[in-house]
């Protein structure tokens, strides 16, 4: 049963490594969050701490929303300044 959350996390990590835009990074981070929450849920089902797994999954989902809001605001800011949302444009904001 743990195969599926692990595979989801791996796909999310690979997506995070190879995507070159902020929107692509959002996909990778959301998949990582899905995998992490699923792993906690499956672990809670296998053990006797089901309430804790439920609560931890809830917190991971909420933290995923926080990350989503931050990345959306970064994408909006980058688009206003550079008219693009590529990750390489973040470095050019230094100058």
């Amino acid at each position: 049963m743990m195969l599926i959350p692990m595979a989801l996390g791996m796909v999310g990590l690979i997506c995070l490594l190879f995507k070159r835009t902020l929107l692509g990074m959002i996909i990778g981070i959301q998949l990582l969050n899905f995998g992490a929450a699923s792993a906690f849920i499956v672990a809670a089902v296998k053990s006797s701490t089901q309430a804790t797994g439920h609560i931890f999954g809830f917190f991971i989902v909420l933290s995923g929303i926080v990350q989503l809001i931050l990345l959306y605001s970064a994408a909006i800011r980058l688009f206003y300044l550079k008219k693009q949302i590529g990750v390489e444009n973040i470095r050019s904001l230094r100058s």
Partner: protein, 167 residues
Amino acid sequence: MNMSSTEIFYICGIVALLAAFLACIIRSSRNAGLALWCCGMSIGAMYLSLGFELLAIIQWIISTLVGISFIFYAVLFGPKPGKINIRIGFVRFIATLCVCAGLFLLISYCVKDLFLSSELNTAKIGLGELGVDLLKNHIVSLAVIGLTLFVTIVGAGVFSRAERLKK
């Protein structure tokens, strides 16, 4: 045909993995957002098959909102598909996936009981018990996540203000 919760869990898991794979390799941001939405809905169905009904509903609502907002921002900001060779990207992705799968199988061979066991005990816990446990044992975490959400919303509004570089 009656299906056990284990079968439903694995079917939804396979759908979620396929949707995640598509979201990872699709070039178009809008279609990737749709695949991400499909992945989130499948994961919610997985939670429902395990007996976590509240979390399933929360996952469905949040994945729908994420999908809608992602498609909106993809249309607004998303780059047009470039002339990059898709075949090279796909080969690189498959190679990385095979390496990760091989590593995972090696680890699971060493910890066989934890990863390859297929026993499934659906959770039987009510909303009242969840609420009591949340307020008794995790009140600080709840306050921290609430404060973090509030600060994030305010900060995001300030950070994403309309301002352009002066030429």
